[in-house]
Symmetry: C2
C-alpha cells in the first residue's frame, strides 16, 4: 500500500506554482488549479489540506529558489573582480526568465506578512552567506578590493539586477514615450551593472 500518487501531487504543485506566481494568493482560484491540473477540486483537498496550505508550500519553494540561486553563484571561490561580470551575466539571465517568481515573493511578503514571514525564516535557515562574507573580507585584507561592507555590495547587486525587470512593463512604456529603443537599453544593462558594482570595489 503506497501513500499518495507522486505524479498527481507534483502536477498539482506545478500548476499551483504557475498560477500563484502569476495571480497571487487572493487572485488564485482553487477551481482554476484543479482545471489546469486536469483533476477534480475534491482531489486537490485530498492532497493538500486547503488553499492556504498549498499556497504555503508554493511560497516556501519560491523563497528557497530565490535564495538558492543567489547563494550558489555568490559562494563560488573566485576573485570578486573576476566573479562580478559572470555573476551579473547569469543572474540577469535567470531573473529575466523568472520575473514572476520575484514579483510573487515581494507581493506576498507584504500582502500576507503574518503568514509568510515564517517561511522566509525557514528558507533563510537553509542558506548560508557566511562564505561570501568571509571571502569578501579576505580579499579586502589581501588588498585586492576596497574596504567596503559586503552587505552593501550584495544589496546593490540584487537591486541593480532585479529592480529594472520588476518595473519593465512601466519602463518599456516610458522609453517608447521618449522615442528610446528599449531593447538597446536592456542589452547595455549587463555592462552597466557590472561596471557600477566594480566601481564599488575597485581601488
Amino acid at each position: 500500500m503506497k501513500r499518495y500518487n507522486k505524479d498527481t501531487e507534483d502536477k498539482i504543485l506545478n500548476v499551483a506554482q504557475i498560477i500563484f506566481r502569476k495571480k497571487g494568493y487572493a487572485g488564485t482560484k482553487t477551481q482554476e488549479i484543479a482545471d489546469q491540473a486536469g483533476i477534480n477540486k475534491a482531489l486537490l483537498h485530498y492532497y493538500f489540506k486547503n488553499k492556504k496550505a498549498l499556497f504555503e508550500k508554493v511560497f516556501l519553494m519560491s523563497v528557497e529558489e530565490v535564495f538558492t540561486f543567489l547563494a550558489t553563484y555568490l559562494n563560488n571561490e573566485e576573485a570578486l573582480i573576476e566573479k562580478t561580470p559572470k555573476l551579473v551575466d547569469s543572474y540577469l539571465n535567470y531573473i529575466s526568465k523568472n520575473i514572476n517568481l520575484f514579483v510573487f515573493v515581494i507581493s506576498e511578503v507584504w500582502q500576507n506578512q503574518e503568514f509568510t514571514q515564517k517561511f522566509v525564516k525557514i528558507a533563510l535557515d537553509k542558506v548560508d552567506f557566511s562564505n561570501y562574507i568571509s571571502s569578501f573580507k579576505k580579499e579586502v585584507e589581501a588588498g585586492l578590493i576596497r574596504d567596503i561592507n559586503p552587505i552593501h555590495y550584495l544589496i546593490n547587486l540584487v537591486s541593480l539586477s532585479i529592480f529594472p525587470f520588476l518595473v519593465s512593463p512601466i519602463v518599456k512604456n516610458l522609453l517608447s514615450s521618449m522615442d528610446i529603443d528599449s531593447s538597446t537599453i536592456i542589452l547595455e544593462r549587463k555592462e552597466v551593472v557590472s561596471q557600477t558594482l566594480l566601481s564599488m570595489i575597485k581601488k
Copy 2:
C-alpha cells in the same frame, strides 16, 4: 442642485486607496472599504460604477504619484553632482514612508497587466523627463560629468533607492540571522547610494 457630495467621495477614495495599496485588487473587499469609510456598500456604487472603476481611479492616482515625485526632484536645475546626494536623501525618505505605494503599483502592473497598462500610459503622458535628459547632456558637453547614458543613471537611481525597501521584510530577517544590525545598514544606505551614483558620473 449640486452633484455628489465631495466629502463622501473623498472619504471613499482615501479609504479605498489605503486598502487597495495594502491588499491589492483581488485581496480588497468592497464591504471593507464601505465599513472603513463609514458608509453603506450601496453608496459606494452610487459614487463609483463598480469595484474595478474605483480600483482604476486609485491605481491611476498611484502611478501619477510615483512619477510626479521623481520628476519634480529630477527636473530641478542644479548640477548633478550636487543634486545627487540631496535627491537620494529626500527620495529615500519618501520611499520609506510610502513603500506600500511602490509594492502596489508593481504587483498590479504584473497581476492585472491588461487593464493597468492603459493607466500607466495616461500617467506617463503627464510627466516629462526631457528636461532631465537635456540638462544631463549639457553637463556632459560642459565636461562636468562622464559621458554616460542618462537613462542608466536614472534606472540605477530608482533601483538602488526603491528595491532595498521592497525586500526589507526579507532583508531584516537575513541580517538578523547573520547577527548584523539592520538599523546601521539602513542608515548607511544613503551614503552608499549617493557614492555609487556619483561614481557613475564623476570623471
